[in-house]
Homo-oligomer: 203 residues x 6
């Protein structure tokens, strides 16, 4: 299968669904991480993203949209359209429509609009932390057991050295705590959780 | 009564509430369809819209806003303000605020903002298909029995030949299926359904 | 896989997900339809249910709870617990928590409570019609293409002769219209739609 | 038209929609207030209800269900069924499904279930105060201008002397404040507001 | 404590939480009202805002953003970031994310994004009236008893003479009615109500 | 202050807000844990609850309602009424209204009904795990930093030996992970999170 993961900034894909990406890759699926914008430290963060994607076994594409022009309009949707045209996905993952960050909201809405043919499944991962508190509660619906890939996930997150420096070591601890907490919900060690926009079930 | 129907693109009004428009017109009400933007095939689609409006007995106004500049901002609201000032409505219909398409969301939000005096009723019609799947469920609240005007509706939809060509004949079948499904909910043959933003009830 | 379908009354399973049940059965999965209560015409309706289940290739279990004592309490949950213990499911389907009918709400809540180990997926099908209008909109999230099993579905629905008599032929037309409408949303001929409570994704 | 107003306890109908009831009555419609249960001071409160209904021009029916047995089950729905069978309504009003009070929730759910034929409109009025705070916000959708009947409303509310004694004069002030506040929203002096469950629109 | 109140236009802060502001000020807290944009009558309205802020005992800052460029994008968030950096708040108040007015929505979203460190509490006040009706119901969660400061509130509102002229005297009556209505909900004379985005509880 | 914590079963209070209880107690507030029902192992679990309450510095009351009769009706609300009458609270904590477990829902609804005077604040804690997955997302709004009381919390949880035996050691790890995850959201080590029903803010 072809799987697209839209990542508003470098590291969102790894932090919020790195274990799931690694699992897809291990099963032979073709995962493309699409980083939408890089507001600062562009070169350094591209380097980190490359390392992280390699760890997970995913391909990487950098849209590099201007962060000051990134709003939910026809231009952005057209850009996402072309990503989907070039790499026709069976499944798409994107950010949460109720995230607090303007770029996460825009990426979520543009993905939903671009996926309008409804011939693929579409899921949203959670908000990044700290920063994601909004007037909405995330509805964890679809769980992936990542007990076998938690180490790859942490390794891929750790490739983002610039973020560990700015958020401190507590950042990684919070990521592990979330995976433990989500795992607990389905009686396994580690899990990642998603909200379903639409799903084409294959029976 | 004066009734305004905001239609993000040509055909939205006909597809989603053509039967209701015809019914208003037959009762002697004055219905104005306002097409907001026409991204492609402008001349052809204006022709089709004219034919469709004539079939339903409605007036037609083409705002023809630039689709690449159509976002929810003061300029768009001011444009909608002037529509309302020129044709003071008793009732307004607009697109669904939770639609997937950027233009439908913008039109919905701009209508809600422009209707701020709250002296008229305001309803939202459903999402267009295929393309409308979002993280929300449409709340069908207000039903109009269109058993008497389903033929006019289908005729007006069929006036949009360009769409039938691009979506195939299944498009019209889906539209009839929706009307049948909505009709079934109120124990009649065909119906159209709306979500209520606000309603000034006349007792 | 073992799949349990809780059906508040005879025919709910067939009307709302008969195509999906047939599809599971054709793929060799073991589907158990659990009819919870039969308020009237008990013998006749059991006969009809048996025929319908046979058509779909599913097993049938009749809990036959007293309809006047069916409320969401510990006793009901314990009954559902024992169903799950006897036939450990990989997937459960149940009625919609926001349905209008007291039995549908009770069955939905009891299923959610009984599935508390969270080791299986849980979906809710839509409300029955006419009768399902409530202050909520159904969030169609997971779609199953039933183009190949629509005939079996209609046959199984038609096995419920008592219902066709009480609702008239329009009942079957409404069911086909819903399948067509849902199919249109994912660009196929016929589909059934579900809201996700929780899903253990197998990658 | 026939209009049924389900009132969980005496005074709910008058407090929350007395102005609307008076308006219907003045236009020649037949309004039936159905008081569901009377937990205390039964005789006194029936007297007050009779006076209040007479002031508004409505008929009164007292179901007098046992308050300790009033839950959302088949028995309660059957009782509501018989009310609807005896007085076939064009419109039904009931309490809010998200109210805090057990009886208000039960009455709301039982009304929604009993109105399952979907051939009449169904609205919910707001929560009573003080006591209505819950984890939900009321969605005021349908507004009735009651500037002409506010005096009748206050008179009908004042007929409930027992409540004025238990809540103090502030109770009536709060009721007027709510009508003023709702009126302000549609640019009139006084209004009452409702949430729409379903509406059969007559065009 | 430092408290920031984002006010999309002059008067929003006073109309929707003037009593609360006065109460904070009387307790010695430092309240900063930040007016974001002034679409018309700029000089006059700044004068009125200064008077109103002085009456409440609050400081005033005028961002004076161009109303035609005010959308939810990185530039706006950066502007809000700098407000927060210059006056590090313990609590922030902002407009409602589901308001009808484009500026209120933008201010709400930009505040939520700018408060991303999550180290301060964040509340939303209600919509202004008339004009606030949207497809959402405000969830009044946090109540402040303003019986002691209602007079200051009305005085501060009255400082906005230009608004009284455009909305008529009924405007002030509506504001008092809302405070009475909200007060009634917590059994006091006057109150203001807020929806909680996030709250760092100090025990 | 007087604080009531309704705990459907033994251990819910400790698992979901033990750190907050300890913090209140350390500040000299009077916390009463009210255990509503004990379905099995009654004596053992009362013993454990006593130990746990003592560790947190809270008082304990055991309602011991019959678990097979615990539904949301007038009788249950009257029982909660009497708890509130005997120990007039400034703040109440209760279970989540959207929990999956029938007893948690009933306790939540009965608390909301019993707190109808609206003169105290009312919060809901999260669902227990594993078992809490429902068609709703918890809206974490109010956070309490429990970094100083996490050890007391874990000690109080560990007093429930019967639960550790039935859920295994992973149960405690999940509880710590949740506290870490919630702490991360407000940039501290450990936190507990609540959804606000209503809050009387003291300024």
């Amino acid at each position: 299968m072809n799987i697209i993961v839209f990542s508003p900034h470098p590291d969102d894909a790894e932090v919020l669904m790195g274990g799931t990406i690694a699992k897809y890759a291990q099963k032979g699926h073709d995962v493309l991480i699409v980083v939408v914008t890089i507001p600062i430290q562009k070169e350094k963060r591209i380097e980190e993203s490359k390392k992280a994607a390699a760890i997970l076994g995913a391909r990487l594409s950098i849209l590099d949209l201007n962060p000051h022009e990134l709003v939910f309009n026809r231009r952005t949707v057209e850009t996402f359209d072309s990503v989907i045209r070039d790499f026709p996905p069976d499944i798409i993952y994107t950010s949460w429509i109720h995230d607090s960050h303007q770029d996460h909201i825009t990426v979520s809405r543009a993905t939903i609009a671009a996926a309008r043919r409804n011939r693929c499944s579409l899921y949203m991962y959670e908000q990044a932390l700290p920063s994601g508190l909004t007037p909405y509660g995330f509805r964890a619906q679809a769980f992936v057991d990542i007990s076998d890939t938690i180490e790859l996930k942490i390794k891929s997150v750790s490739a983002h050295q610039s973020q560990i420096q700015s958020f401190s070591e507590q950042w990684v601890q919070g990521i592990i705590a979330r995976a433990t907490y989500m795992g607990f919900q389905i009686s396994t060690k580690y899990a990642e959780a998603f909200e379903v926009v639409k799903e084409i079930k294959d029976i």
